[in-house]
Symmetry: D2
Subunit: 397 residues, 4 copies
């Protein structure tokens, strides 16, 4: 592939960062606090703007309605804030798990009140999307049960089907609903959208603008994620991704930190669908959803973004005509080596060149560090929290 | 539930045993040989007849075409043989993995010859089904790849779709095609029918008489199998089961030997679909597919069959109105205890009564052992093998 | 086994409940609050007393030093409080994960301050143990790393070895140190005490009063936990248990709710060690550590306790001479049926009789519910929280 | 690290190939046959010689006594054969699983005859080792049980301890015993040497010349293998490796084909032990044990060997002083980037240079292919099999 083509592919490869990725988060055992962590939507958008400035490929920000749009917030004001920071509002993420009413689920709950509140909240989210110009409604449901017999699995399925249909039909024409699946946590017996097959069926029933969202950390050990991606692309049902990495469960580590070759293979399937299958892959929503409790938040985000670019670029380098030929000869070693060779290529020089051509620093992480942003933000934000009378605590006990 | 209802449910609960379950099988490290293991289709049907005689619920026998219908065999002759042993021919199982031509797969292979041979073999199987009066074509495909890049996942998917459609359309009206899924082994990078979602989509595309087959050992660790069963029933896509148990991978142990509560929960979902959801569950094909290399074959089969009866009966005992009530009150402990109480019930007396009422011995395993069948079969079969000049070996090296 | 022997075994089977199991806890996505959840050490000990009153086998309470012994608390006062509620202080549990200083670990941290604080806290815990008459120091360390390269695994191992040796040597003669292992969470790349082998080696190096603690939820999928228990018993290194159940990760569900046969097999190995191996099993510390976010706390505790009794009793019922005989004949089916028969026995009548003989209600859960305790505690505690000006929240955001 | 140092490290990095890796092997579903697959020990040693000629780092060959030393074979004759092919006899591998007597295990079997046969076979192996000048006795035991209760886990442990001690003491002074562990397969309930902790304890009890063997495919999903390696090195108990890769179970794929970063991290821990911990790592036995049923055998072996070299070299490139500094500053991102930078380095040019300096072709696989060896061996071996009257079959049925 020629340099120009590769640069065009890089130009088109945009990654959305999440507002909640700039705030303090933790495990169930507590949070480790960072002075520079963002507390307000202003601070989050400011940080997202910084990441976009240094990487050049993160123009949109996923927002979490409950945390970013406190009652009384004017969505258009938030959109303007984003714009001031050089970014725009991306996917709208409802919160259907935090309120006490969701104890037994949201859309699948046997509790009428929970289902009504869920629907009202999603309708509000759709309005926010409309007001902020967002095209994406991104749904992760924590629904499920913790014990055998706790609830009727099929009754819950029907409730979920109904809700998704209702929500789908309430969306404006330009909006796409992303349906995320997850095998467990926080529900530990069953989850109502446990795997891609369930997300697929729910989406099909909801309507033509519902697609499946693949979170790379939401699979049982051993799952071949790239095969699922290939299938969803072939069925025209892939909506997008939540990027992160994991070794055990939904560990939410930075992308490629544990198994970079697996991430490369996902991108390989996407490029394969585009180049061999003639699929339109331009509408795939690439989004980050990681929880970097220990790494500095902006550094972790830049690390994930640049890793995604590197692995995507490597996947673009796979020699597809050579691969096709080896596959048709059923020569496993030759076919495999096409992937390995691309993966083993050092793509940093190419990325440096692309960045410099776009007026950015070749090394985003170093440039960001050199800017002194974190120290300054840390000082300012600590002062602001003090002024607001907030006492940070990492304990949940 | 009243005794009469329970007995009627037991009457309707039939389990098919597999002809290959009476023959010597092993792991990739070798086979441990049993003198009484069946070598010929006559011996296998004889053994299947014995299991049915002592359990009263195994009237049909799954056959493996490659092993049971050697070239020149008249299928109707085999059907008569079955009849003489008090059983009938059940599901027809093609073999699409053993021939050298299937090195890169069968229906999904890039090798035209492999695909043609696979189709010819399946058409032969359908003819055998027709000739033997079988209603079931049961498909397990070993198709997949061992290395990233080895073949194009989507091209393989398309080939599989085409084959299944062709085979579906070649079946007579009364025949149902069962599509089995498996996440790995013998393919270790990807399998072409890896999970229930893929089996579902293939079946939908093949046609109305294709349904999904759930082998209880074919799931990644942690998979909630009963949820998959509930979903397939709700989508009217559950074809049947291959029963066995496992602790690690596709271990093919006898049913309920590792996790009996999990098996109970599968039956619970089936009874729930019937009693709460009004689903017709009478057409579910319950079949055994286990590889008991160490246990005596007939004993292992009887153990699995009686365990299945016990766990099914326990599931029938779940107090569904109490359960529904607890679920509607969102009282987890009460709801869960409905399942636990049924599971903890000692159902042996009920089963003894049912067996005696049907003129069988209350304790099938003990009665079988008392018959001296194994020792006699062992002596006869060893002599017969000697006469045929066969030298048994457990080694594959 | 005779009824008297069984009753003597039940008499000796004591289970410790954890103070934190009576308080509100949650997942990383939030907490669901219960009005009757205990907030203060007084309330926790009161609840523990209630569980002991209804079950008759929970005379001691595990305490969590950070949460139960706020600065200024007189440990002997807490011991007296326990006594007033009919229980005593059991294992002392340091908290080595919640403070910000533990961001990179406690005993294994490269941060000198963290290690010093950890040691000071453990020494305080030992003092509390001395003051409250406790014989157990129970250590769960969240130490580990989240990313490859983050720290030197061997350097961390050495630091942990040093700390455990220091702590061991600071304990009074009557005290036993329990070393718990866990494969992941909250550390997601490696944990410093990842499996039983590591806990064993650390304990050996710490000294003769250090033993391994087995938390039933702290294993990778597929681990044969009962084998680990059998090995630790044979090596005289089993200290005790944290009971809970799980389907996926460290789900902290109530015991036996997912796989009761697996729990039974653990008890079987313990009884086997006692009866066949002549091991002294009287010093095993049976403790509960579950997080029942949805079930009412005391109900969940009673459910786990009575389930443990039932499964332990079933294990006592295994006919060991029959089992030994079948094993020596290498008859797998006979040997296995010894376990299955015991597991399938309905032991409730026996337990009812034992309870009534001890002056308790035959059905602890029903008796507890009939007492109206939860409603009353809920009302009182809500009022108390209001008076203290506490505003409960389930959100961590 | 300087080029000379790196080349010296490469010089010292020797990998043993297994004789059985040149023969046809398969899964439990059958074997796919290759014309050029080796049948005789002569052919196997010839192939091993070819691999060494093209890679320059495989001077020894692991032998499998049952398959390579048929009764009447003079071991010294085999050693001479090896020498003629430019290689030497490496580890001696007993076969303790294939004979019918091992149905219930070998060293752990309750069957006296099995244990005696096992001991006799191992003593024979030690003699062969003595006669061929081998320093390694490599033990993989398939021992275990398939069903709960089948045998007494502790009795089996004791039998294994006795056998290993006996075998250890029968070894000449120069010989090291390698004790391999595996969590499952072919035993599916428990294996007698299930994890590194058990292998460690057995080795300690056997004597000072027993060490643990790590097969990279013998772990439960999620296991942090590099941590185990670091621990064993720190305890001076790491004997060596069986290299292969896997995605699901013991898939026996070529090294680094699924997760190359994980292999790199293993080498990183070894280099860390050498450079930071001052450990002597020169005695680690690096061996291949893979089953490449589909790839041409010699190609697969060369692929694994060159991949091992590449990943080892990358681990040598980790900037350890930079890493130490980042770790001491607790800067996770910096520390992690030390590993990532080394892993992402293209080491092929260095390896090419090293090979050319040693008089080899820069690209072993291409050079081997250009030689036409496989076609010629295929033709000759097919003819030889025909002459010997052997009919190859891939079926086990």
């Amino acid at each position: 592939m020629e340099r120009d083509e590769l640069f065009a592919l890089l130009d088109a490869f945009e990654i959305e960062t999440p507002s909640w990725g700039y705030a303090d988060t933790g495990t169930r055992f507590g949070k480790f606090l960072q002075p520079a962590a963002a507390s307000t939507v202003e601070e989050k958008l400011q940080d997202a703007g910084v990441v976009h400035r240094y990487t050049g490929c993160c123009p949109s920000v996923a927002v979490h309605v409950l945390w970013d749009f406190k009652p009384g917030t004017d969505p258009q004001e938030v959109a303007r804030l984003a714009e001031q920071n050089g970014v725009r509002i991306g996917s709208i993420n409802p919160n259907l798990f935090q309120e006490q009413v969701y104890k037994f689920g949201s859309a699948s709950s046997p509790n009428d009140g929970a289902r009504e509140e869920a629907t009202q909240h999603v309708l509000d989210c759709i309005e926010i999307g409309r007001a902020t110009g967002s095209d994406w409604l991104s749904l992760w449901m924590a629904d499920g049960t913790n014990y055998p017999g706790q609830d009727d699995i099929v009754a819950r399925k029907r409730r979920m089907e109904d809700a998704l249909k209702t929500w789908h039909d309430a969306m404006p024409e330009n909006m796409t609903m992303l349906v995320e699946y997850k095998p467990f946590e926080p529900a530990f017996y069953h989850t109502d959208i446990a795997d891609w097959g369930m997300a697929y069926l729910y989406s099909k029933k909801a309507g033509p603008r519902a697609k499946v969202l693949v979170d790379t950390g939401h699979h049982l050990q051993g799952t071949n994620i790239e095969q699922i991606v290939a299938w969803l692309l072939d069925e025209e049902m892939l909506g997008g991704f939540h990027f992160n990495d994991r070794k055990y469960a939904d560990d939410d580590l930075t992308l490629g930190s544990i198994d970079p070759y697996a991430v490369f293979r996902i991108f390989h399937e996407i490029r394969n669908a585009a180049e061999e299958g003639g699929r339109d892959v331009s509408q795939i929503a690439y989004m980050i959803d990681q929880s970097h409790n220990l790494k500095p938040k902006i550094e972790a985000m830049i690390q994930t973004v640049t890793t995604a670019q590197e692995l995507y670029l490597k996947a673009c380098l796979v020699d597809r005509s050579k691969l096709r030929d080896a596959q048709s000869r059923m020569n496993i070693v030759d076919a495999e080596e096409c992937l390995r060779e691309a993966f083993n290529t050092n793509v940093k020089p190419l990325l440096h060149e692309w960045r410099e051509k776009k007026g950015m620093d070749a090394e985003p992480l170093q440039a960001y560090r050199a800017s002194g942003y974190e120290a300054q933000a840390g000082a300012e934000r600590e002062a602001a929290r003090k002024e607001r009378g907030e006492v940070a605590t990492g304990s949940y006990a």
